[in-house]
Symmetry: C2
Subunit: 507 residues, 2 copies
């Protein structure tokens, strides 16, 4: 058993908190506090594995109604206790780290009980869900009405509506379905200074509305209680396509073509050479089971070449919608594939990718548990900068690995591509010496971020800002962006109890 610091909340505090939520809604046991104190970055898992918790919540509170959320924030504001909102807890940027930042204690406010059945309005093509509703629950409720949100982040099974909006989540099919924030037409947010109901569906805006600043605010303004989202008809048809390009450059040009014309694909994902090897190997997973696959990766690792850009590149694409849209899309994919001289692969490659797409996080957990370093970083680049940013990212990893005298696997892919540019996503796997996790990871985060930002990419595409990306936000945001947000913060959270130490630079 771990030897954890006791809660800093007094008997009086705990008694007050108990009165604010229904029975079972307050937990102070070590296990609950520990598991609510970590996100899902590599370093979170590595620390948990070592039994290390540099920051620890003093309590976990789980309100089950908006009224309970409201009372909780009033209490915390009065008592100057920091509050960290948490839905799925899958942040990879330290967005749910329980920092007290000068306050006397910090509590995690989990919204997982705020997941009552939503309200689906098929005629209006909107649906309202509570913040704690997980991906599969959202889709199951919509599917009964022949609808879909089309939002499939890799964390689909473990992340929830509140976190999607707080961190501006993208799903794998974002080229067709955009993002939950793009689909937002209304929300309720509980702030330390009261409940705010915002509605941009129906009622036209009478002037500019700072409510537009709530999506992406990462819990620094309040706790999102519910959200109303535009939804889509369930696609009548889906078709997967896969192709192998002889170079990454040819594949990149083809992807750019595919996302510049209607009908737009839903999923579009181009792997570099290293990731292509891995993905194609993954077909063995289904047959041989998870550990057989794990063994393959690990044994193959030393053999991986790092010059992924020069190897064959796998493209996986899906089209969804009416049969006509899907037909048109597939035909266009075929013509683009031929134009760039790519080999056509069987549809099942795409379907295999689809079936396994939510398993990667679990696989990652197993690898970290076995002592490996596994981390990702991602950036947005305009099309003109894809090659230079990809090179910069790979070189940063190579330099980092060389200094540590290890060999690292680096795979990259393009996804979430739009007409103007694309996300570029790197996955890194390397051996990790026990005891050096912290320093290795700190250097890795800093050096890869510097590399992609220096080459013309952004510090994040869809993982948010949280705690770890703050330094680069401070550098890349113009001052007026901060002013607008700080004014709202001063109004809703004047004592800075909401998720302190995240998103916004120090006052």
């Amino acid at each position: 058993m771990l030897d954890l610091r006791a809660t800093r909340l007094s008997e009086r505090d705990l008694h007050a908190l108990e009165g604010l939520v229904v029975a079972g809604g307050l937990r102070t046991d070590d296990r609950s506090r520990l598991s609510a104190s970590a996100g899902a970055a590599y370093i979170d898992l590595a620390r948990l594995r070592r039994g290390d918790a540099p920051e620890l919540a003093d309590a976990v509170v789980e309100p089950s109604t908006s009224g309970e959320v409201e009372s909780l924030l009033q209490w915390a504001d009065r008592e100057r206790v920091a509050v960290v909102p948490r839905s799925g807890g899958t942040s990879v940027v330290g967005g749910v780290d329980p920092l007290e930042n000068g306050h006397r204690a910090v509590i995690v406010a989990s919204v997982r009980r705020l997941s009552h059945p939503g309200v689906v309005r098929p005629e209006q093509r909107t649906a309202t869900f509570e913040a704690g509703t997980l991906g599969p629950e959202v889709e199951a409720q919509l599917r009964r009405h022949g609808l879909t949100l089309g939002h499939y982040p890799q964390s689909f099974e473990r992340s929830a509506v509140g976190g999607w909006l707080a961190a501006l989540s993208f799903g794998q099919a974002s080229t067709r379905y955009h993002t939950p924030a793009d689909r937002l037409v209304g929300f309720t947010i509980a702030t330390p200074r009261g409940m705010v109901r915002w509605d941009r569906g129906g009622r036209p805006p009478d002037g500019p509305d700072p409510g537009a600043l709530v999506p992406g605010s990462e819990g620094t303004l309040g706790i999102l209680v519910d959200a109303t989202l535009r939804v889509e008809l369930l696609p009548q048809a889906t078709r997967w396509g896969a192709a192998l390009f002889s170079t990454w450059e040819a594949g990149t040009a083809a992807v750019r073509r595919l996302v510049s014309t209607s009908p737009l694909p839903a999923v579009v994902r181009l792997s570099d050479g290293s990731e292509t090897d891995l993905t194609l190997a993954e077909s063995g997973w289904e047959a041989g089971g998870r550990f057989e696959f794990l063994r393959r990766i690990l044994s193959g690792l030393l053999g991986f070449r790092s010059a992924g850009a020069r190897m064959a590149s796998l493209l996986v694409v899906s089209y969804e919608g009416t049969p006509r849209e899907v037909r048109l899309g597939s035909r266009f994919l075929d013509s683009v594939r031929k134009e760039y001289g790519a080999a056509k692969l069987r549809q099942s490659i795409g379907r295999a990718w689809e079936r396994s797409r939510f398993r990667t996080p679990y696989l990652r957990d197993d690898l970290v548990e076995a002592g490996w370093f596994v981390e990702t970083f991602e950036t947005y680049v305009p099309w003109s900068h894809v090659a230079v940013v990809a090179r910069a990212g790979r070189e940063a990893v190579r330099t980092w690995a060389d200094r540590r005298a290890i060999r690292a696997y680096v795979g990259a892919h393009l996804s979430h591509s739009v007409a103007e540019g694309t996300s570029l996503y790197f996955t890194v796997i390397a051996p990790q010496k026990t005891g050096e996790e912290e320093v290795a990871w700190q250097e890795f985060k800093r050096e890869t971020a510097e590399a992609v930002v220096g080459a013309g990419g952004t510090v994040t595409h869809h993982h948010g800002i949280g705690r770890y990306h703050r330094p680069w936000v401070q550098r890349s945001w113009p001052a007026w962006r901060l002013e607008g947000l700080k004014a709202l913060k001063a109004r809703w959270d004047p004592n800075d109890i909401m998720n302190p130490g995240k998103l916004l630079p120090e006052a």
Copy 2:
């Protein structure tokens, strides 16, 4: 000739301004100053008719490049001269009134020369237009590429991109095409403290972005230079439909059905009894010419009953899109019409309305010129409140007319309807005693606004806030909305030179 106050700008000021814009870009003659000092509300026209200009620009400046706009605002900021941005100048809420608000002078910055050919990107379905580009120019440029913005405000021929975004304009086909602000993916705004380029196309947002507060800011933050908008494929087919409902209530229920299911109509407009009479009479306009129609209205006015709600209601609807969408829509319209027992009218009624829809403002100008009071007011109401707000609006006009011992025509229609609610739009025509225009209009604005807001409507649907709606905005906005906006204002326009006296309450 009018006897107008001379410009308050010094020789030195005028010399400086001349150096900032190309030849012909600075005008200080009376005629230019007068015509740039009025919007298009009834009171603007009535004042011009009387030769009365309570506020007068000290100069009209017409920059023709974004660089000229930038220099102009730097000069005005340094010199503490107020700047009123103007594109089409069709504001009916005093949004372009040249108020100096404590500054030593006020200039109107017209963007009408900022109307160079736009950049249309058919593959990306976006187009960038300069702020001074008028409605017909926007559509002509898009049409060449088989595209449309679908934005047809009644002011289509006289209003421009900058004003549409500044005042959150709605077009008659908004049920299908939404609004330019909804379609905005990027813009350039010149502020007194520099140029700001905003782009939400492609690059994902890294956190909340106060740039979202620019649409609807009504020139109080800076001068919009250009805007990039999502556009649509030109519809392959269009079909008009018209029906006559025996009651306004039945028509209202039918409209609600029509806008709650796909395919959505483009135009949907339900006239009350009074407006139905007028619209049907309008078919005579085409034959007999404008003045014959005018004569009919004026001679018929005394005979109009004011209980519009109890008479037959005309519904005009259009469907646009693929032939299949149009077919589905028309079939749905037919079934809803039958369900509510409405008579089917010939398609030509709809087409006649379409042909004449941009002429109403000119007709209004003629009526005012002939000494009549003609004004409109509009509100947004949730469906549950349509009847009570319609009654309140009509009663307010009746009370106003009774007190003035005149008979007034009041017509109303529903338009811009969405699943949640609808715009309710009133048109009022009455005889007007010369010399009493000002007091009659002031009372009219105040009493009708109080009535609709008191009954549960908003003070505006799509005419903006400007100068005349400010008192109600102050009452209906929560304080945090103002804070967020003021923070941006403090950053971009710290000396409050940008369109002072509009939108925002006094500091």
